[in-house]
């Protein structure tokens, strides 16, 4: 029986490499739940690792054995809109969700007092990848657990008690209801009105569009509560339960992810409850929600790409032309190896991002809910909060951008490897490519991710983090030589940044893509080197995590289930992966930086000329 966790050596390798034990210590607040007598809480790091592995094994089993074989039918048949404005999920989608709920996987990161698993985001990202490999569209419901997470972070205790256990049990699913016909990337333009009656009850009125799982039972809706404030500060976030006053008017017909219902919603004075405080809807709550969701899309991209790579790898091995398998043809061999390395590169960045998110979320929680009395620790934590926020401001958009673009490239290459067969519906290659195509669009387009990431690249967050990476000492001469190439790459990026800063404002956005590409390559090069050498940077901004492991504490042994021989072989292979990545990517970094330094503004200055005349109306 295929298990999408145990058959994935790279996820298991990272499970051991990323020191989940230390993360568990932070996440479990020194194992407080176990000491309070919660039966299923881990008692120490090793116990937590064992739990994470078991949870991922259950996820991998469901994904490989149940969900993946159903994906083709779900894609072909989709969901159904009923006349009364409700949606009936495809019976296989409904059953997939029932299975995930039976396995307790619908409250992945929620605290145990709401019946959740209290897993770090990193483990959840692994699970999202595993589920997406089986059926990318199911991720659009399974991967929406950030909605419950948002309620947990910002709603009052009453709402939490009422809703979070129902999310964890899988009794309800949620939707984040943001987009409108005239408010897509620019959410400040949201118009849906929230009005309050004299008794203080809220009602929502208006239309929302392109809402993933908009037929879910619990809707978090961004609405204009302040009629006289036109921008984002006039928006608040509301919770509504699906009812007769919220109707699905239309189900979109889409290129891919057919199992995920994309709804147009009509609110007809639908009752709603305010989440947190008025006016913080967009600027605080939705921003937090979107950041988590972006990492989720990065993980979804990994899953689709992994599925596409595997299909192409298998096909190139078994398809014979010119007297042998096509994998022996140099052009195909390069496509296959590039696909694999690109998946691993994006995985390295996405998991790093998830890990930093976990550190930030936990630090924020401590500062808000349980601030330390010790003045020095408080100071360290506040400094950490600023550093982590800046680092995440770089990593979250960078990994969403990088992983989703990689996903489309890999899915496209997989189809190419399969040739004519890939273009037909007999193989899932075309489905992977259709599913992949949304990843660079939703939760913020690639172009918007670049706008966010480039600020992190230029503000010093990139430079400081890479400086920490460069402090690591590589005793292996091959790795040390590769490190030198990365240092060179970093210097080129820094000169390009300096050049961009010397230019007028909009050049930054024009050069953004190349700058982010170059910075991502250097960053990922370091991550792969660290994987090859078995090294890690556990400090952030030179600061250790206060509730992390004390210096003398031993880390628990590897818990992924890989044998020592397997781990050694994977480590040795990783060295070749790092070499291939760095030797092929660093010239690209140089090209990108040179192009930036050329300062060409033609797309802006000569727009009318180069873009050509507007096509005549037919």
């Amino acid at each position: 029986m295929p298990n999408f966790f145990t058959d994935n050596d790279d996820i298991r390798f990272l499970f051991d490499h990323l020191d989940l034990g230390e993360l568990a210590r932070v996440q479990e607040r020194d194992f407080a739940d176990a000491r309070a007598g919660v039966g299923y809480a881990p008692v120490d790091e090793a116990d937590a690792l064992d739990n994470y592995r078991r949870i991922l094994e259950i996820t991998g089993d469901l994904a490989g054995r149940i969900i993946a074989p159903r994906a083709e039918r779900v894609d072909a048949e989709g969901n159904t809109l009923n006349e009364d404005g409700t949606v009936t999920l495809h019976p296989l989608v409904a059953d997939n969700l029932r299975r995930l709920a039976q396995a307790d996987l619908m409250g992945f990161t929620l605290p145990r007092r709401y019946e959740g698993l209290n897993c770090p985001n990193l483990v959840y990202s692994m699970a999202i990848e595993i589920v997406s490999r089986a059926d990318a569209s199911l991720m659009n419901i399974f991967g929406l657990q950030g909605i419950a997470e948002t309620i947990n972070a910002f709603a009052d205790e009453e709402l939490k008690q009422e809703y979070l256990p129902r999310f964890a049990r899988g009794e309800v699913t949620g939707a984040m209801v943001l987009t409108e016909p005239d408010a897509g990337s620019d959410l400040q333009a949201v118009r849906l009105r929230a009005v309050q009656d004299p008794d203080g009850r809220w009602y929502l009125r208006g239309v929302k569009r392109f809402i993933t799982n908009g037929c879910g039972e619990v809707l978090l809706t961004l609405a204009r509560s302040e009629a006289d404030i036109a921008d984002g500060r006039g928006l608040s976030l509301y919770l509504s339960e699906r009812g007769p006053r919220i109707r699905v008017r239309h189900l979109e017909h889409k290129l891919g992810i057919h199992g995920s219902p994309t709804c147009e919603l009509v609110y007809d004075d639908a009752p709603a409850r305010l989440i947190g405080q008025r006016q913080r809807g967009l600027i605080t709550y939705v921003m937090a929600l979107m950041n988590g969701a972006r990492v989720g899309i990065a993980a979804q991209s990994l899953g689709i790409a992994e599925a596409a790579y595997r299909l192409a790898r298998e096909y190139a091995h078994s398809r014979k032309q010119f007297g042998g398998p096509i994998e022996r043809l140099p052009a195909v061999a390069e496509m296959i190896t590039d696909m694999k390395i690109q998946v691993e590169a994006a995985r390295a960045l996405t998991y790093e991002t998830s890990r930093v998110c976990d550190l930030e979320n936990n630090n924020t929680w401590v500062l808000e809910c349980d601030p330390p009395e010790d003045k020095d620790e408080l100071k360290v934590r506040k400094e950490l909060a600023r550093t982590l926020k800046r680092l995440n401001g770089l990593l979250t958009p960078m990994s969403k951008y990088y992983a989703s673009e990689m996903c489309i490239r890999v899915a496209d290459t997989a189809l190419q490897v399969l040739g004519g067969s890939g273009y037909m519906t007999d193989y899932p290659a075309e489905r992977y490519l259709r599913d992949a195509r949304i990843t660079t669009i939703y939760e913020g387009t690639s172009q918007l991710q670049i706008v966010a990431a480039v600020r992190g690249v230029c503000s010093g967050a990139f430079e400081r983090r890479v400086a920490e990476f460069e402090e690591l000492v590589y005793t292996d001469p091959d790795l040390a030589a590769l490190r030198e190439k990365l240092v060179e790459g970093r210097m080129q990026v820094l000169s390009a940044i300096a050049f961009v800063k010397s230019q007028a404002g909009d050049y930054l956005d024009l050069a953004g893509r190349r700058l982010v590409d170059a910075a991502a390559a250097v960053y990922i090069g370091h991550l792969l080197l660290q994987q090859a050498a078995g090294l890690r940077v556990s400090k952030v901004g030179g600061l250790g995590f206060p509730s992390g492991r004390a210096p003398g504490d031993a880390a628990p042994g590897p818990a992924s289930g890989l044998s020592a021989d397997q781990r050694a072989a994977l480590r040795a292979r990783k060295q070749r992966v790092a070499r291939r990545f760095i030797t092929t990517e660093m010239p690209q970094v140089r090209v990108n930086c040179e192009l930036i330094a050329a300062g060409d503004r033609a797309p802006l200055e000569d727009f009318e000329l180069l873009a050509g005349p507007l096509p005549a109306k037919e």
Partner: protein, 304 residues
């Protein structure tokens, strides 16, 4: 109404993944070389029992007989939702055939007290006899419904069941208590529930604790060993993690009916068949090809 279901489960060698070392030179099963799994059809039996509990209320007890290692399948039952788990283990029960096994299981079910349903998988993948369920029903004096496809309904202590009859199906009504053997068509087993996994992964039977203590303290003897086992058992019991372990005496089974002594089955001969022919024969998909294949099969008595 509350129904007590007992599910008989078995830990078996994973015969679907057999390797060359599966059989020893003398023709007996080389258990050490075979990974063990939850007998597949027993998982379906457990699923039906859990569904009955969800629809009509009650409790589910998992019961197995085997060496201490068989506690693995009991933990798996708890992961998936069983309320209680019991291991019958006793050296005197070793080498039991189906008759002795069903006798021992009948004693264990009797010891559990009031029982409304006994669910078994149709058969185990190691012996493939499909005898234990029916024999157990006889010994308990329960009516039996074999080859369950679907548990339809339950009212007034009468269950309505659909069973496979080979070339079709039939629907039967049966008064409780009843023993039911279950086919894989009866329902896809639910996955282990993560929170229960994290809780019950620590559950142990006493024999496992004894083995753990012996492994950790090889020099420990008699009373010291006993005291340490008891200390650990007490800690587990306090958290509801001590699984029940019964001996033949606990279930008041007559040793004469158990184990080798209680097993009239005689093995006539064990053949170790080693497949020597390698490669394959290609048959063209034509009328002539098929005719030739059938002729060959008739000649070597595979057909007819």
């Amino acid at each position: 109404m509350s129904y007590h279901s007992v599910v008989c489960v078995k830990q078996v060698p994973d015969t679907a993944h057999i390797t060359g070392e599966a059989m020893k030179a003398d023709g007996t099963v080389n258990r050490a070389a075979l990974p063990t799994i939850f007998n597949p059809e027993d998982l379906h039996a457990l699923e039906v029992a859990l569904e009955v509990r969800e629809r009509f209320g009650g409790t589910v007890t998992a019961l197995t007989m085997g060496p201490p290692k068989a506690a693995d399948v009991l933990r798996d039952c708890l992961f998936r939702g069983a309320d209680r788990a019991v291991l019958v283990t006793d050296r005197r029960a070793a080498a039991s055939d189906t008759l002795a096994t069903s006798y021992i299981l009948s004693r264990a079910v009797r010891t559990l007290g009031s029982v409304d349903f006994v669910f078994c998988g149709r058969q185990a993948i190691d012996g493939d006899t499909a005898q234990v369920g029916p024999q157990l029903a006889e010994k308990l004096g329960f009516p039996q419904v074999t080859y369950l496809q679907q548990f339809i309904d339950l009212r007034d202590r009468t269950a309505r069941l659909r069973r496979n009859v080979g070339n079709g199906w039939e629907i039967v009504d049966v008064r409780l208590p009843v023993l039911i053997t279950v086919l894989d068509a009866a329902g896809e087993p639910r996955p282990p529930a993560a929170r229960r996994v994290m809780q019950y992964k620590r559950a142990r039977v006493r024999a496992e604790l004894e083995a753990e203590v012996k492994a950790e303290r090889p020099s420990a003897a008699g009373t010291e060993l006993e005291a340490e086992v008891e200390r650990r058992a007490e800690a587990l019991r306090a958290r509801g993690l001590m699984l029940e372990q019964w001996s033949l005496d606990d279930i008041r089974a007559d040793p004469a009916w158990c184990g080798l002594a209680g097993s009239p089955t005689k093995v006539h001969r064990v053949q170790s068949i080693v497949l020597t022919k390698s490669g394959y024969t290609e048959i063209p998909p034509t009328e002539e090809g098929i005719r030739r294949l059938i002729r060959e099969l008739v000649v070597d008595h595979t057909l007819g």
